[in-house]
Structures are given as C-alpha cells and as structure tokens.
C-alpha cells in the first residue's frame, strides 16, 4: 500500500462520495477488512458483521471529505464500527454470555493463588500454535471468546488486533484508561482460565 498523504485521502473520499467506482474500490480494499474484523469480533455473527460493514461504509462515503486525513479516518472507523456493533448486540444479547467471575483467579488470605498445585503450575504455552489454533482447542478458544461480554471483546480486538494504545482504546470506546485496562485484564484472565481448564491437568 503506497503511503497516502492527508490530501490524497481527502481526494479519495471526495471521489468515493461522488460515486467514482475506482475510489470506492480503493476505500473498500483498504478498510473493509478492518471494519469486518472489528464488527465480527464484537458481534461474533457474520450476518450482523456484514450489515455493520455496509452501514459503516455508507456513513463513511456520505461523510465524504470531512475527515482530516488518514489518522482521523482510522479513528472514526474504529469508533463508529465499535458503537454500531455494540448497539446491534444490545438488541439481541445472547444467553451464552455469563459472568466472568467464575473464570478469574482466586487467592488464599496470604495472596497465593488458591487451587491444586498441579493446576496452578500447568503450563501449556509451549504447545505449537498450529495445534492450539485448530481442532478441539480452537473450538474451546472460540467458545471462550463467545462467552465474553461484547464490550470486553471490543477492547481486546482494538488493543490486540488493531494494535491501538490503551489511551486510543479508551477514546474509541468512551471509557477511562483504567476501566479499559481492567476490562482487558479480566478478559485475558478469563480466556486463560478457560483454556487452562481444557489444556492443563484437571483441577482436582
């Protein structure tokens, strides 16, 4: 992808708003993957994600050349996609979402983690990614992600896939940096716990 200046990007958006097929194509090639990943990552539903992609692109093109360059466009895309996706979920929150409390570490009074030692020292991290990301383990991971509330998935994707800073994620979702950090950490602890229950030795 060639480096674009703000002027190039503005011109592209202006042409796309006028219906220029090449400009629309360039915008789609450049940004549809990002919008889809975020929309799917939050809703976990391909049909919902597709509607969101269409909605976000239509809004983007109608906004035309109002964006002040590429950085402004990218943060607009993150913000609008996140909001549209979270609102879509709100209408049809699924039963699978459960409290994360069951999946957070517990501690003894002295601050040591509670639980059988074989479970506490279980370390499956050296297993190859090919194995962890396929078959039954992949299914466990996907189920675990499904169980997270949508606004937890939103911060995970923005941080780990879109590679925004904690500050940028906070601006995108309209929360404080400490709230974003807490949510990220709780989401990661819960996913880790679910994977370890499946991959480590049994907890009793």
């Amino acid at each position: 992808v060639p480096v674009m200046t703000s002027d190039d990007e503005r011109l592209l958006l202006k042409d796309a708003a006028g219906g220029d097929p090449d400009a629309l194509e360039t915008l789609m090639r450049r940004y549809s993957g990002r919008v889809y990943r975020l929309a799917y990552g939050i809703t976990r539903n391909p049909a919902d994600a597709e509607e969101i992609v269409q909605d976000v692109f239509l809004q983007m093109v109608r906004k035309g050349a109002d964006f002040e360059g590429r950085a402004a466009l990218a943060s607009w895309i993150h913000r609008v996609t996140t909001n549209v996706a979270l609102n879509k979920r709100r209408g049809k929150r699924r039963e699978v979402e459960t409290s994360l409390d069951d999946c957070l570490p517990t501690y003894e009074a002295d601050g040591h983690r509670a639980g059988p030692r074989a479970y506490l020292v279980a370390d499956w991290s050296a297993r190859p990614d090919d194995e962890l990301l396929s078959g039954e383990t992949r299914r466990v991971l996907e189920d675990a992600i499904d169980r997270l509330p949508g606004h937890y998935r939103a911060v995970l994707i923005l941080r780990d896939v879109e590679e925004l800073s904690n500050e940028e994620v906070a601006l995108t979702v309209g929360d404080s940096v400490p709230a974003v950090k807490t949510r990220l950490h709780r989401a990661r602890m819960a996913l880790r716990e679910i994977l370890t229950r499946r991959l480590g030795p049994p907890p009793c």
């Binding site: 629309l24 549809s32 889809y36 990943r37 992609v53 040591h112 370390d123 950090k181 602890m189």
Partner: protein, 76 residues
C-alpha cells in the same frame, strides 16, 4: 514482598513494558521463586497472542462483492 495476587494484577503492564524499573525488578524476583506465577505469566502471554491470531479474519470475498453492489446502488 509481592504476593501472587500483586503479580497477576500487573501482568498486562509488565508485558507492555509499562512497569517502573523497581516494580519490574520486584516482579522478576517473585517470578524467580514462584512456579505457579511463572506458569501463569507464560499462559497469560500465550492467551493474548492466541486471541489476537484467532481474530485476524479476512472478510469473505462474497461479502466484498455484496458491499461493492450495496455502495454502487446508494452512492453517486
């Protein structure tokens, strides 16, 4: 002396390199003597990476085709 609870609370900051040097040093001292926390850190770090990899999806080609049609019908 840090407890396991203290260590787990700051793992994200640790992985981001955001801890003050003296806090990072205290964390390393705890890790050196605590096998459960070493296992926790290793699996936590791996979880972060796996979650990101699992989320790196491509939009299906047929959706791109439908998006193109959708926009051409409405824009211009």
């Amino acid at each position: 002396m840090l407890t396991c609870h203290d260590v787990i609370d700051v793992l994200d900051d640790h992985l981001d390199g955001a801890l003050a040097p003296e806090d990072a040093a205290a964390l390393e001292r705890h890790l050196a003597g605590c096998e459960p926390c070493r296992a926790y850190l290793a699996t936590y770090r791996k979880t972060r990476a796996l979650g990101a990899q699992a989320a790196r999806l491509e939009m299906p080609d047929e959706m791109l085709t439908r998006l193109r049609r959708f926009l051409r019908e409405r824009v211009g």
